[in-house]
Amino acid sequence: MLNRRDLLKSFGLGVVGVSPALFPRWIPKLAFGSSATPARVQADGGRDVLVNIFLRGGMDGLNTVVPFGEGALYYDKRPTLAIPEPSTRPLTAIDLDGYFGLHPALRPLKEVWDADALTIIHAAGSIDPTRSHFDAMEYMERGTPGSKTTPSGWINRHLQTAAWQNDSPFRALGMGAMLQSSLRGAVSTLALKSIAAFHLGGREDQLEAIQAAIAGVYAIQAPQDLLQREAAQVYAAMGMLNGINPDSYTPENGAAYPDTEFGNGLKQIAMVIKADLGLEVACVDLGGWDTHESQGGAEGWHAELLTELGQGLGAFYADLQAWMADVTVVTMSEFGRRLEENASAGTDHGHGNVMFVMGGGARSQLYADWIGLSPDVLDDGDLAVTVDYRDVLSEIMLARLGNDKITQVFPDYAPNIRGIILPRA
């Protein structure tokens, strides 16, 4: 008759488990850094952590960064939705440069702007004319407008072509249950919904045996296919996250993340940055921007999403203040929305849009090759794209990520480098 202890012993020793060689090069810190001793985000210097925020659904850039200087060309087209010109009254645009203003829900971003760490690029986007969400997102994330057959995402190709390679399972992180298309490709990436939940379940008394057994059946010591490669990543990531207790995490500088999937995603990215796990790029999404109906103006649906976006970015900036010189955040959305509002008090799919860049590469500047909103310069009724989003990303790659393999990341594309993004100090 076996007793329980024998049972455990035989389990613990009964199977070959994970080779420690799987994680020799990344020894995680067992605590979060704090601003008193901020680790350089990349100890070997030379590059930022990139955080890519995708605003899914087609954000209305014209009501996010408002071209109030266009006067009637903007206001006449949006009788119920327009954001009033900056004034001392509440619920009016927040003036940036006398021509453009932030939506009033983006007050937290004004603070980042005042701290000289926010760049706004207007009339940016993908040159492909599609007004389909799904095509536009795929084109944008694959980095090849017009081609859906590109097998990998632009961020994955950046990681593939970077001069350095890093075997941390946290090299590329996608927050959420499903991986963003920009991260797909040959470099293994980690989709993570919750750090707290990232451990193996099963009977506690047989956990080691189960862990070893799964490692065995998935051949994680010598992964041969996709699933085995993912399994090996699970083990490496579990090993590293064991030192981290997300419950003990307190954001710094009074940062208050929204208690939403987006806010929690940003918070967990901040944790991974502070724990120095080898993070290079992280993706997080904020969806719901498809405001065909009852979009609202200074208040309402669109304003609520902007509140979440602004609070999230503001908290991330405050929490990571001591790291921010080594972090670049960039937002994008598949397209903007039509200038003229529709009969449902909403806006249909448009074209040009706003991108925000926050952090090390940013300074308070609003960049636009602005040609205005007069009917003759609109693109089929929509704000024309005058800055290709790949130009902005190429600048970030060159100036902040230390990767000049632009033609491999954005095939058949020669970016226009305008000097919008500050180079690293």
Binding site: G14, R131, A177, L190, G202, A212, V217
Partner: protein
Amino acid sequence: MTLSRRTFLKMTGATALTGLVAAVPWVGAHPAQAAPNRDALHVLSRATWGATPPDIALIEQLGIEAWLDGQLDWQAIPDPRMDAYLFFHPILMAAPPDIIKAVEEDYGRAYHSLVWTRLYRAAHSNRQLYERAVEFWTDHFNIPSPDILAGKILDDRTVPRTHALGRFSDLLRASATSPAMLYYLDNATSVVAHPNENYARELMELHTLGADGGYSEKDVKEVARILTGWTLDWEGEWPAFVFNGDIHDWGEKIVLGRIFPAGRGIEEGHDLLEFLAAHPSTARFISFKLIRFFVADQPPDSLVDSTADLFARTSGHIPSLIKHIFMSAEFYEQVGTKFRRPTDLLVAMLRALRPGLSFTNSQWLLYELEPLGHVPYRWFPPNGYPHHSMAWINTGALLTRWNLAFTLARTDEGWYDGLRFDRNLMCPDATTVGEWIDQASDAILHAPLAESERGWLVDLIGEGAGERVPLTEELRLYRSSTLYGLLMSSPYFQWM
């Protein structure tokens, strides 16, 4: 609960040194590949939510074609268990005003009825292929439930569940006039002065022609004009579909070169739907999607061609298309190539453990789908939950899938809302470790394991004492969840 990193490393270091039983990587083909009933098992893996012993017996008795014919004649299949179940969820059969009333009285209960029933039907209905088809069309005409619950409950019944195995044009018309769809994609508020293009675009891109179906931005605008006036009657007892000529655009329109003359009302919308349903791009797009769902992530061109051809010849008769796909040579070249989506995985586990597992109404099981991103009716964009395997394969998801297997396999140890697992009813005839492993492999993977893998499991479960070790109560107690959990978290169970 978690091992500390130190323990983890120590453990792995120690085992590497001693290595009493070397782990055998399960890197080979799925054991069913080598089984004599390989083709039948392959059909069941794609046409059901997980094969059970009665399914296997039936398809072997009837042969594949007769089994398919039987499944496609879904209304003739008795489903007493579902009939009994639905008696307790009257909202699903209620008239629209009563659905609204029930939702207003108890939203949570109504929501649970809708979502839980999806899982229950998948796990228990005898109309398995019909339920797979319903799943396909639910994704195709996706409407998320949370904001439009009453409308979604009605749409579920009158669109996918009514027409899943009918004619595509009927399905399309049902969807286009479904209040939930008119509301979700904003056509209800589209008026002649400012047409709302949302539905018009998705109608062509997602529901019929496909993004590469040859239409232009101009066509989107024209379709939106044709469908102005297709709206909801907010004055009535419930927001029924109604055509309102006052907000309709009565001018001439041209869609894909076809002229829709001026002066016509609702009938030009119906003409448009017939035109789109019969368009060659639609035949191709629907065929492509069906094949991606049932056969392969990269649909073979030859099968897309032959299915699209049949679509044209049968005016989009869905059962004919499905039968053609399942009887094609291309289908049988794709054994084990589709990755189970999270709901497929959960239901397959429930069906595999069915001899010991009973469940009635488990909120807890629905929670398990949340971190995997596949709660029924919770995909918010109109394109629906993806069918492509790659969308579901990632590092975080794999760990969650393993945890689901082990958690479910150990529900015998505790009390779970609406769920009970009796380990003594699983593989009840096994008297030795060897028999237990064989019966468990058979129940879960439907085929014997390779010798090396079996030998390794014997050593793991029987502590190296050989396969003839008697299967005691204590072994069952300690090893059930490990054995079943391991089989269900193995690579073989992830693919179908």
